[in-house]
């Protein structure tokens, strides 16, 4: 509490003492306000750092959840990236398996085609034999007619041989038709197998590269965000630790105030001892000047508020 400023004309030392006590009172009030400002700033900084710390922790938790959802190298099957990679690998494996099996089928069809060609060749052979047999039967019939009655029995045999030759020709024709039908069916199966075996791999390659690039980008983001969060957490810890300055400054201010009170009491005692010696005009004028200066000092004031939220703030 500041002392009221009163000037006693009769004894200048009393006026001086009063002025000194007044200034010291103003100084104590200023220091008290400084303590309040520091305490208020400390509280607000602590609250802000606590909020920032919690927000950072929540952010880290959310980040980890997002990372695990998108790509988790330890449990790849549970993450989007891992599941996509597995799906793509399975897709390519199936494509390769289908191509291998289709090509295996096609190889069998090629072998079958070779056997069919042999079959056609054999059928052509049978056909040739039948035509020769029919010619022989015709010649035999001519010879039996030339032989007259003696050849009548043989004529029946020649007719029978001719009938068998014609039957062989008909059979080889039917065989040829069947073989051609088989060849058409086999060509159809081969075309289907070829279509199954032949797939363009470009889309799988693009998907594989795209997925790899996305996972690499996620890894990079993960590393960068991880570093930044560590820095934020480190700064919060450092700031909270630094806020202990408030206690130290308050202790210094309390000590200073205590010392000022002691000095004020000592000055009062000194002025009391000197009061008789300062009544001449020259001393009275000098003391009056000092009193005026002390009055001016006590009226200087920079900051009146006691909380940091009362003033405006210029950031950076």
């Amino acid at each position: 509490m500041a002392h009221p400023l009163v000037v006693y004309d009769a004894d200048p030392s009393v006026a001086l003492d009063a002025a000194i006590q007044h200034v010291i009172g103003v100084m104590k009030a200023d220091l008290g306000r400084a303590k309040l400002l520091i305490a208020d700033a400390g509280r607000q900084l602590h609250d802000a750092m606590t909020t920032l710390g919690r927000a950072t922790e929540q952010y880290r938790h959310a980040l980890v959840t997002v990372e695990r959802t998108l790509y988790d190298s330890e449990h790849a099957e549970r993450s989007l990236g891992g599941a996509s990679s597995a799906l793509l690998e399975e897709f390519v494996r199936n494509m390769v398996r289908v191509s291998r099996d289709s090509m295996s089928t096609i190889e069998e069809i090629f072998v079958l085609g070779e056997q069919m060609a042999l079959l056609v060749k054999h059928a052509e052979g049978i056909d040739g034999l039948a035509r020769e047999t029919r010619l022989i039967a015709l010649n035999a019939r001519i010879e039996t007619q030339r032989a007259g009655d003696a050849g009548r029995t043989f004529e029946v045999v020649a007719d029978e041989v001719k009938r068998l030759a014609n039957a062989s020709l008909s059979l080889s024709e039917r065989m040829g038709t069947a073989v051609r039908t088989c060849e058409q069916r086999i060509a159809h199966v081969r075309a289907t197998a070829e279509s199954l075996a032949s797939n363009d791999m470009s889309s799988a390659i693009q998907a594989h590269k795209g997925l790899g690039a996305a996972i690499a980008a996620l890894d990079q983001v993960q590393r960068e965000l991880g570093v930044d969060l560590s820095q934020v957490e480190g700064s919060v810890t450092q700031t909270v630790r630094a806020l202990q300055f408030e206690d130290m400054v308050t202790q210094i201010l309390d000590l200073t105030i205590g010392r000022m009170e002691i000095v004020a009491r000592m000055l009062s005692r000194v002025l009391g001892l000197c009061s008789g010696a300062l009544r001449d005009a020259e001393s009275a004028r000098a003391i009056q000047d000092i009193v005026e200066e002390l009055r001016a000092i006590s009226q200087l004031s920079l900051v009146q508020q006691t909380t940091v939220t009362e003033g405006t703030v210029d950031l950076f």
Partner: protein
Amino acid sequence: VNSMEVRRDKDQLAVELHGRFDFAIYPEFRRLFGELDRTRTVTIDMSDVDYMDSAALGMLLLLEQRVPRGGSRIRLLGAQGQPRDVLEIAAFSQYFDIV
């Protein structure tokens, strides 16, 4: 132009492929199956192949299955660009030596 050249040196078979490696070359490619009985090593140079599809993968696997016991793994040489990507995505290094 898609083509295939085959050279034999004792029990070594060297194959060179050119252009597209797809089903169109199979009638020629399957002739290799008949060569495998007296072969210990097969090398397929793919440095001049600019495209291959899944049918080519199937053909390579058929060839690999027919290598006699005691023969070494088939070597695929010089694949680059799209053919190398196809071999990688199909994880063919588990069946072939890809150089």
